[in-house]
Point group: C2
Chain length 241, copies 2
C-alpha cells in the first residue's frame, strides 16, 4: 500500500545545505539500478533528523553525492517497544524483522529458548533487512537488531521498569489483559519458537511481576504470524496507531 | 508455536467407527514421507465434523485407509469474516492466504483493483495453501478461496447486511472506529495492492454506508503486513480472540 519513492537510510547528520557522500552500494543502486542522474531528487533519513529531500549533485559508477534541500518529514520515534523472538527458518526470521520494523518496534532482540529451532543468526543481515524495511515503509527510524541471547539470561538482567507481554497459546483473553496492565511506557513482547515455550519457561515467565500474559486467539499461530499479531495488538491498545 | 501432530484435511464425513480411504497424495505423505505404518494414529478434520483421531488400517505406497476412533475436538467455526485482498508477488500472496487461515478468516477473496500488481491467480494452489495452513494451525475449518474478482463488481453486488472494514494509510484511528461501527456479525476486510487504492476507489469506498474506514498506524505497511494487522485488529475487537 502507498506510492513508491526512493528513500535511503544514511549515517551522516542531516541539515539544510549539507552534502552527503554516497556509499558504493548506494551509488550503485541509485545510478546503475535506478538510473538516476545529477539533478534528480531522492529522500534520505538517518533515524535522528527526520526525512530530507536530497538532490543528486554527483553521479558516478561507484561514488556520488547528495545536497540536502529541505526537511520533508519530522523525526518520528516509535513507542519504546522491544520485540523478543526465537529465530525460525531463515525466510520467516527475515520476515519478522521486516514486519517489526514496519509496525514500529524500537528494538529487535533474537532469543534462544529451550525449543528454539535455530541457534545462530546473521545479525548484520537482519540489521540490513531492518534498514531496507524502514526505507520502504516511509519510516524515519531503524530498530536495532541485537545479538542472539539466551532467554534465561535476558530474564535475569531484565530492567524492572519495562513490562513484558508474554504471548502463549495456552492463555485466553487478548485485549483485556493488556488494557488492565496499566500505564507503563516501556514494553517488550516475547514470542516463542515453533515448538512453543517449555513448561519451565512458561512457569518462570508467568511468575514474574512485570509479565503480562496475553492470548493470541483459539488457533495456533506460527511464530511469524504471532509476532505481527502481537505487535498489532500492542500498537492498537497502547501504541501509536 | 505449539507441538506438531500430523493432521490431515479430508473430504469424507467423519464419525466413530467409519473408514476413510486415503488419496494418493495423503498416502504418499503418510507412508513414504512420514513413515507411518498400520496401527499409528493421526488426526483428521473436514471443516464440518470437528477433529478425529484416526488409526492407520492400511498402508500402501499409493493407497491406504484410516479407521476413525474418537472425536478429539469439536467443530470450531471462525467468525463470519471475509478477507478481500489484491494479489501481490507470489510468495507474499501465499503468505496472506496462510495467515488469513491461521487467524480465522471464513472466506478469502482475491480482488483486482486499479493499481493491482497482479491480475492472475492460481486459485487451486491458493486453496491448497489454505488447507495446509489449517492442517498446521490446529483449526478444524478451511476458508474457501474465491476466484479473482474486480473490486467494482464486488462493490456493486455487495450484500447489504455485511460491513466492510476499509484499511487505508490515509486514515487515522484504528480501534475506535471499529468499536463504534456497531454490532454487525457479518464483516469483510479489504486490503489494497502495493500501489494503494486509486483516488476514485477511495472516494467510492468511503461513501458506502456499510464501510468502516480504519487506519493501520502512522507507517506505510506492505500489503501482507496490512492483512495480518487488520485481521488481528478485527479479531481482538469484534472476533473470537
Amino acid at each position: 500500500m502507498g506510492a513508491t519513492k526512493i528513500r535511503l537510510c544514511v549515517s551522516e547528520d542531516l541539515g539544510a545545505g549539507q552534502t552527503v557522500p554516497l556509499s558504493r552500494d548506494h551509488a550503485h543502486y541509485l545510478f546503475s539500478v535506478m538510473r538516476l542522474a545529477a539533478g534528480d531528487s531522492i529522500f534520505v533519513f538517518n533515524g535522528r533528523d527526520g526525512e530530507w529531500r536530497a538532490e543528486v549533485t554527483e553521479a558516478g559508477k561507484k561514488t556520488g553525492a547528495l545536497l540536502l534541500r529541505e526537511q520533508t518529514a519530522p523525526q518520528h520515534m516509535p513507542p519504546d517497544l522491544w520485540l523478543l523472538f526465537a529465530p525460525i527458518k531463515k525466510a520467516r526470521t527475515d520476515f519478522i524483522v521486516e514486519k517489526a520494523t514496519e509496525m514500529g518496534a524500537a528494538k529487535i532482540l533474537p532469543i534462544s529458548t529451550e525449543f528454539t529451532n535455530s541457534d545462530r543468526i546473521n545479525r548484520d543481515r537482519l540489521q540490513a533487512h531492518a534498514v531496507e524495511a524502514a526505507e520502504q515503509c516511509g519510516g524515519t527510524f531503524v530498530p536495532e537488531v541485537g545479538e542472539l541471547s539466551r532467554l534465561d539470561r535476558i530474564i535475569s538482567d531484565w530492567p524492572k521498569d519495562r513490562r513484558l507481554m508474554f504471548c502463549d497459546e495456552a492463555l485466553v483473553g487478548a485485549r483485556a489483559s493488556l488494557m488492565a496492565a496499566g500505564p507503563a511506557t516501556k514494553w517488550a513482547i516475547v514470542i516463542g519458537p515453533e515448538g512453543g515455550f517449555s513448561d519451565a519457561e512458561r512457569t518462570r515467565l508467568q511468575a514474574l511481576d512485570y509479565v503480562t500474559p496475553v492470548s493470541l486467539g483459539p488457533r495456533i499461530l506460527r511464530a511469524d504470524t504471532a509476532a505481527v499479531a502481537a505487535l498489532t495488538l500492542w500498537q492498537t491498545v497502547l501504541g501509536d496507531w
